[in-house]
Structure formats: structure tokens, C-alpha cells
Symmetry: C2
């Protein structure tokens, strides 16, 4: 059948205005947040699980490839079509109606197209939040499809640990709707199928609704910058903080000097917080928080932080070159500006890798030692989540560097960095961005053959139709 | 081939002493913790993943059915053979050698045959623990296969949330060994296959090794008994405690008067803590804990608990009939004795159900209202985890009751209780005991046909051989 027949049929299912075909209207849906510009036959904007089901059934029956798209904030080309112009984008951006808070159960049932910020705005008056803290503002469905972690993973875990239930549309001829999980927290009555749809980039089905666990909003917080005396001091400092502060420690983020300098240079609102303006080689942002209501006579968290840092200075002076408590909002402003700053320092080639915690600083040191001889044009602007093992290894190169235009420099960098990450350190080449077209090659390279065979066996059972931008089989 | 040929072959693989066939030696392995006495062709006691793999490969190739068994503390007949005498039990009880703590990463890599108590005994000096709090003392492999929750779920989650990696032996002709996950906390590079083996009773593979997330041991705690003015007051009290105490609230357990009275009557070491010995209709055990080290000048948790209970008395007097702080160990001793006490009060028919938190007390009230007319011989001795929705609905009947010997009374009770649980309240008929022969019927009844078809499709991909005591397909 012709393209026009398909579009007419889809318009019949969804309504005229919910099937976009004009290039200008489709532009935002076919272009990625940082990389990629693709082409699509159409963009679908269904408003309910029933509409998603109808559209998927039509597309699968007629052999049309679908690319599910949520907030389109991802960085691995997981939610935009390729250049063929044959795929149909299915956007969740109109799936943001149902929002049912269950305050007794500390959970919310909602459509998957809500943005993270909107969810938390609606929950604020109840003193609750969905505790995934990200720089970007994705929609919930995409957060589930990539299993995002973020800066408070240390305290709250990732999306997987905070999803209670999912409604999923499968890419089969019926557009089958599965309801997986429920508001229950304890339920062990068979396979927990929802896990298959978390972190797998929408390849096995489209998440249209979900039930999320909520946490109490922190009522108090305090922040400090710690300057470790060397890279080797970072892990003992983390252990010491955990020993003394337990789960009051809600973030332990590392920032390298080049990343900090890039932020200070390119984000005018920031103030240089370091004595004499001298940026140390590496800085830890440590955050304490309490979810309990403040009580009269209770020590403030600033006092607690000061006391613990004072004790570390006294007992283990060799670990800490400097440390100071400051206003949390200002201290986080620098941390959150790192990404933006780095982007403006040249051409950015970004890596989202993860390690066992004890390996993070060893990996970063290794990169800093070998990079100058292998890729002298690269500046390493790393930062990351020391508390949970995630590292954003940002590599910045001058825009005029050889091999940028044809992608050969990026390929050479990725091949080497991922080889060190995976083969030498047993790390992950995608900590919290999941898999998209951009890292398909490394999935193919590093996934054991048996697991690819298993995935190839699972795909036709769940969603035989063409869905998403990656192959797991 | 004959039985003797198989036994000789298995002895060749595992060693003479690791294949039991004497009835007296097998007795402990073929009898369940509370129910069941089965029969087995043999009991295998492998010492390593390689030995498990060799034994499984032999059994699958020769069409022998295997029943994996861990601590054999389960209550749903998930780890003991049936009466046919044809199955072979594969016990993990000699798989307790490898134990590698990674203190930097707060994780441990270990063989799956360690008991929970032994794991925590070894971690105590490091100030760490595996934060699943149970009355029984299972082995880790079985805890993974049932995804146990326990009394501190409110703070730490279930086993699923604390497993980082698994080594699994599949029931295929090769006894394939899969390594799933690693010490990493953030890793989104495809399907998280380990999830399929968590909570599925060993049907898809045998967990032989794992990597567990560890938490800091609580450094301080306080406990109180709260007497709600009515069943309706329980949920407002929980919300109020969470609002004021946040994640310092580490347990919120409910205990009914009949359960308390049974414990006081049958466990001599207990002291009746209630004024004049009068046991209230329902009592909440609330626990506060801190994982931070005590600091000079810090308010004690007893003081915090007193202050918060005082404020609730002042602001919401109608909710609370009584409340008092006491020694945590003594208060937990009564809570932990409930199960033992109930067992001695008559014949026990136990239910492990779960609900959205707001439904728990409504369900319990419903049971108490309807039971006398439907089953007048039953005493309801319920207790449970109000904080996470789990209810241990223990029904006690006189030993001479009609229908006990032939199982018809138990069947009638289960049919009715599960119908109310699942059909009316959307609850779970197995909160944390998973599925075994004992609740196969209710799995078949309440699992959507599509999910059974999917499970039937998954089983041959992973483990075509006969493994475990249940069918998910």
C-alpha cells in the first residue's frame, strides 16, 4: 500500500491533527537532543493507551517501523529515526492526562508522557517526589526505557527501583496491552515481566502508563566542597563519610578542574567559590539531607557537616587538602552547570561509563596518563557520581581537529575508551543512557553471544514488529 | 538407563559422599519446613558452580527432574520433591566457600549457599549488612529465588533491590553458566536478565553465586508500641510518622491481639508489656534507626520518638489510644515470637498476602467481619508489615476441625481468602513466599493467559529441562 493510504488510515485512528507529516512540524521529533538529524514518514501523537495500541497494531500489520519517542532528551540516538525516511515516530508527548496520587501508598499512577519536572511540581504540595534527580527534563516513559539514575542514586536508587507497575503496548498485530505490576510493593507471583521493559530502549514494547514509588521530599540539606589531597584519597573519604553519616549522605559527586573551569568560563551566573579563584585538581560535592521534619533543638545539617569534616581533618589530615560548607543551591549550581560549560569549550565527545566504586579514580587516572600520548588534542573534563560508580567522561577537542568531520576521531576514541572501560576494568559502556543507534556497535562487541541469542529468542515472543532504534539479538 | 547407572554417573561427577540416597540422610531434604514430606531418587550436594553445571547437564541430558533447594525454609513447597520419588534434589548447602567483600564498593561476591545469618556475622566487623530482615534463616540462593522482603522493607527494599549480580546455571544439555550483572550499580547495556531468576522459584535456572549490595549497619535505634484508637487510625498514623520522621522510620509493623496473646501464652521468655496485662486489639511496633555514628550532643532516638509521639497525642489525640517507648530488643522479641506462638495455638493455615498500603486495614476488617459466619471455627491471628503492604493472615483452627485431614477446609479457606484478596482488593496471593506446588493452583487461576503464554515461551529458551516444583507456563 502507498504511503498516503497508511497516513489516511492512521489519521482515521488518531485524528487529523495527531499525525504530523509537514517537515517543519516534524523537525523537533526527528532531531536528537545533541546528535543526529533523521527523517520520518510521519509523527504520531496518540492520547491514550488505546490509541497507542490501535496505531501499533496498524503499523505492525502493515510492516511499518516505529520509533517510540518520549522526551527526546537522550544522547545515544535511541528515540529518533534514521535517514531512510521510512520509520514512523510515535511520540508520548500528548500522553499526559491521567495523574492519580495515592498518598496512603506513597505512589502515583500516571500517563507516561508527563515530564519529570511536571510530576514533581504536582507532588510538591504533598511533600512527595519521584526521587530521580537529572540535569535534563525527560518524560517518564523514556526514563523507564533508559533506566536513568542521576545524582541521588546513592540514596534513592535508579528508576528500576522506583517503578511499581507498567502498562505496555506490544508490537504485535493486535497492539496487545499488558498490565504488569500494580501499586503493590510485595508481589512474588511469577515472572516480574515489567523488568524486561525497563532500560531496553522501547524495543520490547511501548510504556504508556506507570505506577511510581514516591519518597518524602527532603526537609533539610547541607552541602560542602571537599578537596581530596590526591585521587587516591577520594575512596577513603567516601568510606569515611558513609561510616560517620550513613544514609544522611545523599550525594557524593566528583568534579575535575577542567570541567569546573569550563563551567566558570561559559556560565556567567556562576561565582568562583575557591580561595583566590584557584580551582583545585578535583573537588567533591558532598550533600547531606534529612527527610524528617525539623525539630526544635535539633542540630542543623550544616553543624553536622562541619563536625564530621572537622573530625576527618583531625583524624586523617593526609586525605583532605581543604573543605568548606556552603549554600547547597549555589554548590549544586556549579555541579549542574558542568555539562553546559563543557559543551561550549570545543567539540564534545561524551562518555557515560560506570565502574565498581573503587575503580573510578583508577580509571580516571589511567585516562589522564595515557590520553596525552594517544590523543594529544583531547582535554578530559570528567565529572561523575562517585557514590554509585558513574563517570561522565567528557572529552573536548578543538573544532578544527582532524577526523572530526568523518567521525574517525570519535570512533578511535570510543574504541579505546570502551576497551579500557569494559575489558580492563569490567565497567559499563552505558551507565544510564541505555542503548541506541549510537552504541549499537559496542553492544554487539561486548555482549556475550549467549545473551544475544536469548534476546533474539525473546523479541518475537513479545514484540515481533519493528520497534525502536536498536537490535538486542 | 537404570537408577543405579544414573547414581554412579552422578557420583563420578560430584564424588561419593555428595550424592545421598539413604532415606535417613535424605530426610531433612525431602521434608518441608512446615508442610510436606516428599521422596527423592537422590540428593546432590555440589560444591561449586562447575559441579552444579556438570550435574545439571547430566540430569537434563538423561531426562531427570531436578528440584533446587537452598535453606529449605520456604512455606509453599517450592524446594522439596513430590511423592513420586523420581526427582533429584540439588542442595546448595555445600556452596558456601567463596566470600569476597569489596568494602569500597559496599558489596560482597559469594556462593549462594551461605545462610543469611552467616553472611551478616561475617560483615558485622565492617559495620555492614545485607539488609533483609527475616524471622527464618534461609540461604542466599533461596532468598533470591523467592525475592524475600521482611520487616525492614520500608527502609531497604526487597532482595531484588539489593542484588547486583548473579551466576546462574541453566537447565540445558550443557548446564550453561550465565554471568549476569557485576559489582556495578549503574549498567544499562541491554536486557537485565538477572531479573528473570529473582522471585521465580528456581524454575528458570539455579543461582549458584551472587554479588549483593550491602548497607551500613544501623548505629542507633528506638522502638515504640502504638495503640491506634481504631483500625481506621492506622494509616493516618503511618502517614504522620513518615511526614515527621522521614526515612528514620525503619519499621511499622502491625500485631493483632490474638497473635500477641498466642505469643505470650506459648513463648515463656516473653513479658506482657501492656498495662494491667490487657492486650489491646491492635498494636503497631514502630522503629526508628540511624545509620550515622552517634555524635556528642545529638538527641537520642528515644527522645525523638517521645517528642513525635507527644506531638501526635497533642495534635491528633483521636488517633492514638496509647503509645510508649521501650527497649527495642524486647519489643522486637514479641514481634518475632508471633509466628511461633500462633503455630502452637492450634492447626495453622497461613496466608502471605499483600495490598496497596491503604487497603491493608480494610482487608483485615473485612476478614474479621465475615469469618465468624463463614468459618466460625477460625481464629484470625494476623500480623504484618503495614509500611510495605504485606499481611501475614494466620488462621488458626482447632486440631479436631472437620475437613482438616482431607484438606477440604484449607482449600475452602484459600479459595475464599484469595478471591477477596485478588479479585476485590487487587492484592497479591503471595507477597514474599513466591510460588511453589502449594499455590500453583492460584497462580493458574489468577495469572492472565497472555502472561502464561509468554512464560511458556521463555522457559524453553532458558532452561528446557525439568527444574523446580512449579509451572509458570
Amino acid at each position: 500500500m502507498s504511503r498516503d493510504v497508511h497516513l489516511a488510515a492512521l489519521r482515521g485512528l488518531l485524528g487529523e491533527g495527531d499525525v504530523l507529516t509537514e517537515p517543519s512540524a516534524m523537525a523537533a521529533y526527528v532531531t536528537g537532543a545533541r546528535y543526529d538529524a533523521g527523517q520520518a514518514m510521519a509523527v504520531l501523537r496518540p492520547r491514550s493507551t488505546a490509541e497507542v495500541s490501535a496505531a501499533v497494531a496498524y503499523c505492525v500489520t502493515n510492516g511499518l517501523a516505529l520509533v517510540p519517542q518520549s522526551g527526546n532528551t537522550g544522547l545515544v540516538s535511541g528515540s529518533t529515526p534514521d535517514m531512510s525516511g521510512e520509520a514512523i515516530v510515535l511520540s508520548l508527548d500528548r500522553m499526559a492526562k491521567q495523574f492519580a496520587l495515592d498518598a496512603d501508598n506513597r505512589s502515583v499512577r500516571l500517563d507516561a508522557g508527563f515530564t519529570l519536572s511536571e510530576v514533581n511540581r504536582r507532588l510538591e504540595a504533598e511533600g512527595l517526589f519521584f526521587p530521580i534527580d537529572l540535569g535534563a527534563d525527560p518524560r517518564i516513559g523514556g526514563m523507564i526505557a533508559t533506566n536513568t539514575g542521576g545524582s541521588r542514586f546513592l540514596k534513592y536508587g535508579d528508576v528500576r527501583q522506583n517503578v511499581l507497575g507498567l502498562t505496555v503496548v506490544l508490537a504485535d498485530a493486535e497492539g496487545s496491552v499488558l498490565t504488569l505490576g500494580s501499586p503493590l510493593r510485595k508481589n512474588n507471583t511469577g515472572i516480574d515481566w515489567k523488568q524486561i521493559f525497563i532500560g531496553t530502549s522501547g524495543v520490547f514494547g511501548i510504556v504508556t502508563e506507570c505506577i511510581l514509588n514516591l519518597e518524602r521530599l527532603p526537609q533539610q540539606s547541607a552541602a560542602a566542597y571537599l578537596v581530596p589531597s590526591s585521587a587516591d584519597a577520594v575512596m577513603p573519604l567516601l568510606r569515611m563519610m558513609e561510616e560517620r553519616l550513613g544514609d544522611m549522605l545523599s550525594a557524593f559527586e566528583g568534579m575535575s578542574a577542567p570541567a569546573i573551569r569550563a563551567a566558570l568560563a561559559h556560565v556567567p551566573a556562576l561565582r568562583n567559590p575557591f580561595q583566590g579563584g584557584h580551582v583545585p585538581d578535583y573537588v567533591i560535592l558532598a550533600e547531606l539531607s534529612r527527610t524528617s521534619a525539623p525539630r526544635e533543638g535539633e542540630e542543623s545539617l550544616e553543624t553536622v557537616m562541619e563536625a564530621v569534616l572537622g573530625a576527618i581533618f583531625e583524624d586523617e589530615a593526609a586525605l583532605l587538602a581543604d573543605a568548606f560548607v556552603g549554600p547547597p543551591q549555589e554548590m549544586w549550581a556549579l555541579r549542574h552547570a558542568l555539562s553546559e560549560g563543557v559543551k561550549h569549550s570545543g567539540r564534545l565527545i561524551a562518555f557515560d561509563v560506570a565502574f565498581a566504586r573503587g575503580d573510578i579514580m583508577r580509571f580516571c587516572t589511567r585516562m589522564k596518563e595515557e590520553m596525552p600520548s594517544r590523543f594529544p588534542q583531547v582535554t578530559i573534563c570528567d565529572f561523575g557520581h562517585i557514590g554509585d560508580g558513574g563517570v561522565h567522561l567528557n572529552l573536548v577537542v578543538p573544532p578544527e581537529s582532524d577526523g572530526l568531520a568523518d567521525g574517525s576521531l570519535e570512533k578511535a576514541l570510543r574504541d579505546w575508551v570502551y576497551a579500557v572501560t569494559v575489558e580492563e576494568f569490567g565497567g559499563s559502556f552505558s551507565a544510564e543512557h541505555a542503548i541506541g543507534r549510537k552504541n549499537q556497535h559496542y553492544y554487539d562487541l561486548y555482549t556475550p553471544a549467549r545473551l544475544k541469542t536469548l534476546a533474539a529468542g525473546l523479541k518475537p515472543i513479545l514484540s515481533p514488529g519493528a520497534l525502536g532504534t536498536v537490535r538486542f539479538g
